[in-house]
Symmetry: C3
Subunit: 153 residues, 3 copies
């Protein structure tokens, strides 16, 4: 059970400040997921910090650093080129909490949809995504990501 | 037809104030749904008012008050423990309107996804959710919820 | 590839202003899609500008102007009345960028769910939706919409 859901620090922001923060994080994920699905490898990797750790059950070991992230997207792109499938990654039910030193801790649901060329779209996967976000030169970046899959839970 | 969609009072807030309000409601639902799917019965029930009324087609009669809400989550938890299924509740297309006396009236779509352990995820249900929210000691709470299912419409 | 994703002007707004803007666009789409699914033809068409252009792959040619938009919803309503199916349109992964002269350019994912009366809900379609939004008398309106379907890509 994610214990961080159970103890929640009191909010320290005004409503409007929280609104700005929450919208930025939503915009950040929208852009990050669109770049991923477009196979924009370098631009997607640039939404992570240089030393980011990315842990997903479909990879044998966590990916560390941007070069590994880029390679991961290129493998996906090549595979989807062969299969003719378009993936779409959706984030929802986005819970945003303040962390230490200006970090943000997010916990969200993630869905993956797949559409074969000329075929019927279908739900591929239901996941939970937990991120540590940091602000680097005014822009949010993912420092750490842990994805768990409901089917492997 | 939900007539409240048809007559909409003029907005009385600044853009930034509306942004803060809308983000709070999104954050509220994200947290509420995550607690529900984690079977955190008491914490989930605490996101409703003491006298909340919860009306869903899967129950014979509306649930009234937190004790009934807690019991409902415990029944779900026991049933999913037996079946080995993980449910995920998503809220989207969130329409937020001011009501009387500082209440908020929301109308949103709700999806339920289910994943059997080791099996394929699938869409279980498409619903419409209409809430009356009130602010209690600075936190939004659901006072009244009406859920309708598209398959039973 | 949508080249507009690749060159992004620097943000010119404060966090709270961006929060207000982003929330308004989310609220706009929630309301617009709910009106569409309720077959509220005139009210839905009024969320577009008078001279709006609406381009979707399910129509032979782009629809121009509100009368055409109204007719389109009425055709959908009649068809769903016969088939007994309820459609739900979801927007997600909403990317919002400033355009020229106060316009907003959005790129989002769109899902369509369908539920037959008494039957099982299912995912019908995965799309990408690109809008040009303008503010008319304080309210956002769609001036141009381009929808692409993943299965026809």
């Amino acid at each position: 059970m994610p214990t961080e859901l159970l103890v929640r620090p009191e909010p320290v922001r005004t409503d409007a400040e929280f609104g700005g923060l929450y919208a930025q994080v939503q915009q950040f994920y929208a852009h990050q997921m669109q770049l991923f699905d477009l196979h924009e490898a370098e631009r997607w990797a640039a939404t992570f910090t240089e030393d980011a750790v990315f842990s997903v059950p479909t990879l044998d070991a966590p990916v560390r650093g941007r070069a590994g992230l880029v390679a991961n997207v290129r493998r996906n792109a090549a595979q989807q080129e062969r299969s003719g499938e378009q993936l779409r990654h959706w984030i929802g039910m986005l819970d945003v909490r303040p962390g230490r030193d200006g970090e943000l801790l997010t916990r969200a649901y993630a869905l993956v949809y797949v559409t074969p060329r000329g075929g019927a779209s279908r739900l591929l996967r239901v996941c939970v995504m937990e991120d540590v976000l940091v602000r680097v030169r005014g822009k949010w970046r993912t420092r750490h990501r842990l994805v768990t899959r409901d089917d492997l839970a």
